[in-house]
């Protein structure tokens, strides 16, 4: 399989000189081979580097392949590189980012409604840092700008695609939290009335029995 070896080498060379993740479709075009073959070769390379204990890895991020250092080598690389990964995001920024990531496309107003605060400044910061971008306009009245996450967001999270995000369902609060919140909001003297009302009030989140 001389050809396969040649493709392998070509893929390594092209990925080496690219400063963006290289999409498998592009590699397939360059080499005139099926995309699945490209993916098989890249999988094989990833495996080889791992087995040989290389200091670098072939990572599959943001829809493409690129060379990255092995995370275990971070202590050495940190001392050497000039550009850090950028300063960390505040928790306000992270929460806003989480809402946009899971609910995109989403308008500023909609994010604001979930967070309970004006999010203009945070959205501007996230946009400046390249984590989110404008992805369209709301077709409704007012045609609000809709935001979505970028490929840089995926790169920073080390994910290949949005579908690799942990499912939002994983974070829905458990019964204990719901109970605690409900308890916090419920006047004690009303316990017995709550039951009575449960049937009538449609929006009751939890059934009492």
């Amino acid at each position: 399989m001389d050809n396969l070896q040649e493709y392998k080498r070509a893929i390594e060379a092209v990925i080496l000189v690219s400063d963006n993740p290289v999409e498998p479709t592009l590699l397939a075009q360059l080499l005139e081979i099926p995309k699945t073959t490209v993916e098989e070769i890249c999988d094989a390379l990833t495996q080889e580097y791992k087995e040989q204990g290389r200091g670098f890895i072939l990572a599959n991020v943001a829809g493409g392949y690129r060379f990255q250092t092995d995370p275990e080598m971070a202590p050495y690389v940190e001392r050497f590189v000039l550009d850090g990964q950028g300063s960390r995001l505040s928790s306000a920024a992270l929460e806003t980012l989480a809402i946009i990531a899971y609910k995109q496309p989403i308008s500023r107003m909609q994010v604001s409604a979930i967070r309970g605060v004006n999010v203009e400044a945070v959205i501007r910061t996230l946009q400046q840092r390249g984590y989110i971008g404008e992805v369209g306009k709301d077709p409704g009245p007012g045609s609000a700008i809709l935001f979505g996450t970028t490929s840089l967001f995926l790169e920073r999270l080390g994910l290949n695609a949005l579908s690799d995000l942990p499912p939002l369902a994983d974070f829905v609060p458990g019964a204990d939290v719901v109970e605690a919140l409900e308890g916090g909001l419920r006047p004690e003297g009303f316990e017995n009335r709550t039951e009575m009302m449960a049937g009538e009030s449609q929006s009751d989140v939890r059934s009492e029995d």
Binding site: G116, R156, F171, V178, A180
Partner: protein
């Protein structure tokens, strides 16, 4: 003794309510609404600008809570208007739903943060095209905008760690360590500005630690500080250690 700037910033009424109910594990009805409002006003005062949206949203929530709570104080609830009562409970359910949503995304954001931190351990190769091929490129600036140039400039001039193989910079510097380091280094430096001292700072906390260390040294009278204008450059000059008394016990510095 490390310094971490970690403040609990509530960036919304839901945040605050969540915090009060979950973190402190309090029954909202066992604490006075006055204290909640006080806590909230304190948070608002700490913010840079008073955010009208936050303030009004909270008033709405507070009003609902007050109304709910006042019902509890009524001796007999049997003659309550059922319509009103229902509306109130709906309000409560809506609030509960919003709190649950807020909590969901809060937890999701922790997961995103963890992913980011893991990913940050693996550095991408950004070296780019080899010189020998650059000549082939039709137009290197294809698709580059003024905005991109601006961003690149900001990236290039952002504070970054310097290559320093001998004093490997630790993010969690302590004031005591920094004071010791400065006592060793300052005598050879002559006049130096805080900016020069902190060019290698990895993050802002480090700059703050340097700042505190300098204040400590100033307090001990071993350096002179000059600043010609407000927000101007701060110059530090080593005066020397009193040979007889030496320095005070900096190890005990507690900030």
């Amino acid at each position: 003794m490390t310094y971490e700037v970690e403040t609990s910033v509530f960036s919304g009424p839901f945040d605050l309510l969540l915090h009060l109910i979950l973190q402190d594990e309090v029954d909202l009805y066992e604490i006075s609404l006055g204290s909640i409002i006080d806590a909230y006003i304190q948070e608002i005062q700490r913010m840079e600008d008073v955010n009208l949206a936050v303030a009004t949203e909270f008033l709405l929530i507070a009003a609902t809570l007050i109304e709910l709570k006042s019902r509890r104080l009524l001796p007999d609830t049997s003659d309550l208007d059922l319509e009103e009562e229902l509306a109130l409970w709906e309000e409560r359910d809506l609030l509960l739903a919003r709190l649950l949503e807020c909590k969901t995304f809060k937890d999701a954001s922790h997961a995103l943060k963890a992913l980011t931190l893991d990913a940050a351990l693996s550095y991408p190769r950004l070296t780019g095209m080899e010189e020998q091929f650059i000549g082939l490129m039709p137009d290197l600036l294809e698709g580059v905008s003024g905005e991109d140039v601006h961003e690149a400039f900001l990236r290039a001039t952002a504070p970054k760690p310097r290559i320093d193989l001998f004093h490997v910079t630790s993010v969690k510097l302590t004031v005591a360590e920094t004071v010791e380091y400065l006592i060793e280094e300052l005598p050879q430096m002559g006049k130096v500005t805080l900016r020069e001292l902190t060019t290698g700072a990895v993050d802002r906390v480090e700059v703050v630690v340097y700042f505190l260390s300098i204040l400590e040294l100033y307090k001990q009278g071993v350096i002179e500080l000059t600043q010609l204008a407000t927000f101007g450059t701060l110059t530090i000059e080593w005066l020397g250690v009193d040979k007889e008394t030496g320095l005070l016990g900096i190890d005990a510095y507690e900030g």
